[in-house]
């Protein structure tokens, strides 16, 4: 799961990045509206945290441009001015939720999880697929009640597959969603994570669809 954070205040941006990363997501940070808009339009993010008061291009404009370009990623806007006028403007521009500064990091993470879950059509923070359970709140996975020990990258691969169960997910797609933008990507490492996951999961759950990618099956 890859999250875009657009926040111009460096300290707050760093805190957001840290907080969201520690919840098991990959984070890219943009410090102004123009960079934020470019990233959001060119990279496949699973959600965005967007400050409304941004230099160069304000958050509402960024959001409108994304929506006009057909980007449907869930967007959580941050407002400093705690007015309903701003919230209405944000929602009408296409935001999915808002949070007023100052906020508690836990609340931001909860809202973000809810948005990603909602975007995937999941009603609960616990994703269940066959014997597999993924708790997005605690970033833990378990097989029939037994907790799995996963590294950060393994968790991200599994979480992405769990958000798209039964669908074919290409290697490139996985790469895009588990690495930050400026990370030196190597799609071969995805195969390494898949291989490690297969050892930890019941056999046959991750199927390789030749030439297309991977599919998470319900039963072995």
């Amino acid at each position: 799961m890859r999250i875009l954070v657009v926040e111009d205040e460096p300290a707050l941006a760093a805190q957001l990045a840290e907080g969201i990363q520690s919840a098991g997501y990959v984070v890219d940070v943009a410090h102004n509206g123009i960079d934020g808009h470019f990233l959001g339009e060119s990279e496949p993010y699973d959600a965005a945290v967007l400050d409304i008061g941004l230099p160069q291009m304000d958050g509402i404009t960024v959001l409108r441009k994304w929506r006009a370009a057909g980007r449907t990623l869930p967007v959580l806007i941050l407002t400093a001015r705690d007015t309903w006028r701003e919230k209405v403007a944000g929602i009408d521009a296409g935001a999915d939720d808002y949070l007023t500064k100052p906020f508690h990091m836990e609340e931001l993470l909860a809202r973000l999880r809810a948005l990603i879950r909602r975007a995937g059509g999941h009603a609960s923070s616990e994703l269940v697929w066959g014997p597999l359970t993924l708790d997005t709140r605690s970033s833990r996975a378990s097989v029939e009640g037994t907790a799995l020990t996963l590294t950060g990258h393994e968790y991200r691969v599994l979480a992405y597959l769990m958000h798209h169960p039964g669908e074919i997910v290409s290697r490139a797609e996985l790469t895009e969603h588990i690495y930050a933008q400026d990370f030196d990507r190597d799609s071969n490492t995805v195969e390494v994570f898949i291989a490690r996951l297969r050892k930890k999961l019941p056999p046959g759950m991750i199927e390789t669809v030749r030439g297309l990618g991977y599919r998470l099956n319900q039963a072995p």
């Binding site: 230099p55 304000d58 209405v88 403007a89």
Partner: protein, 492 residues
Amino acid sequence: MNPALLRNSLRMRLLAGTLVWIVIAILVAGWGLGQLFHRHVEARFDTELKNHLDQLTAQLILDEQNQAAIRLPPSDPRLNRPLSGLYWQIERMAAEGEHPASAVLRSRSLWDETLAVPADTPADGEIHRHRIAGPKGAALRVVERTVTIDTHSLRLIVAANESLMTEPVAEFKGHLWLALGVLGAGLTLAALMQVFVGLAPLRSMQDALGRVRNGDARQMEGAFPNEILPLVNDFNSVLAQNAEVVERARVQAGNLAHALKTPLSVLANAASASGKRDDELARLVVSQMDVVRKQVDYHLSRAQAAASVQVPGMRTAVAPVIEGLVRVMRRVHAERQLEFVVLPGEGDPAFRGEEQDLQEMLGNLIDNAAKWARSRIEIEVGAAAGGLLVSIDDDGQGIAESERDRALGRGVRIDQQAPGSGLGLAITADLARMYGGDLGLARSGLGGLRASLTLPAAPEMFDGKIRRRHEPANDRGPDTGGGNASPRHGAR
């Protein structure tokens, strides 16, 4: 007239001034015309008497016995009708020392009366006039002359009742005063009309000002004459300036909020992260940060509302505000499948105040309802005594009666479960009171809480004169409103 009334009313001043002159002019005209006519009639009367005297003189002869005689009696029939009011009489002048003179000839109209004319001896050719009491005590106007034929001196007298002269004069004066009275009434009416027509722009100015004060208009509108147009323009610019000051205060309040809150966020997050490592100071910072945030929110909302309540001519349609807020709630609570029922009320109900304040009040209430509702929220706009009534019902657990007063107080948080500042209801109640409205909490028919917000209503729109105040919220980027006033770009 009451002097205070005269002093206080421009209309009364103008009317009183005009009326005094009308009365004086009519009195002078009536008196003058009466006098003129009186003199004219008197002159004619005297001429007539003299004519009779000349006629009598021309017919006077001495008969064989040297007695005075009239060859042909004067023709006026009144001289033959007894006591008709017109008489003649001829007396023989007594010789020197002989007294009194005796009447020798009289007109038939005198019947058996004698005119008692005081002794007088006009010189030859002179005519003397007297006023005497005649038959039945009537006042008579008398002319006389002395005629000497041979050695006989005769006194010729013609007399007429003064009433023959005064009656037509009185009649004329009666008509005159009547006519002048009508004229005076007409002039008074004209003066009244002039005053009312002349002062009509003042009244329309008063009406325009009244509309501004009632919040029906933001500026004084209408066509005004050149004499009061500068006043109206000055007043309008004062109004505009006032609105500008308020808007600037609002923007600056927003900027202050923005400037404060981002650093607050940073501080709170840093402290929060540190607090996990069991740091007493960090916990203190986190808890105090909440207090700071509440204080900032509370006082900012108060400052903004206090500024805008003073501005007249505000009008905000209620329905679009509710629609915008419901859009927000539907999106934010998308997965809870909440049902929002909005009954927007008859016509186009409008609030007499700032759009942003209405948004804050309704936003807090609807947000609160949405937080607690199980499945359904009903928003109804209706009329209350002299105002608007917006009631918001939810089917949540409600607030116990004993807790409702506390919920309207400052910073009271009934239940820590739902996220939020806990100030929403208190801020809303405060804002409503500033506008002269009220917020009431009760048990809802749906099972949860019913919040009833009473607010002043803006009057119905007429002829499109009053601009609809609602502008799509998107038109104002929240951070673009400040322009140069915004500290953001300069400070960073």
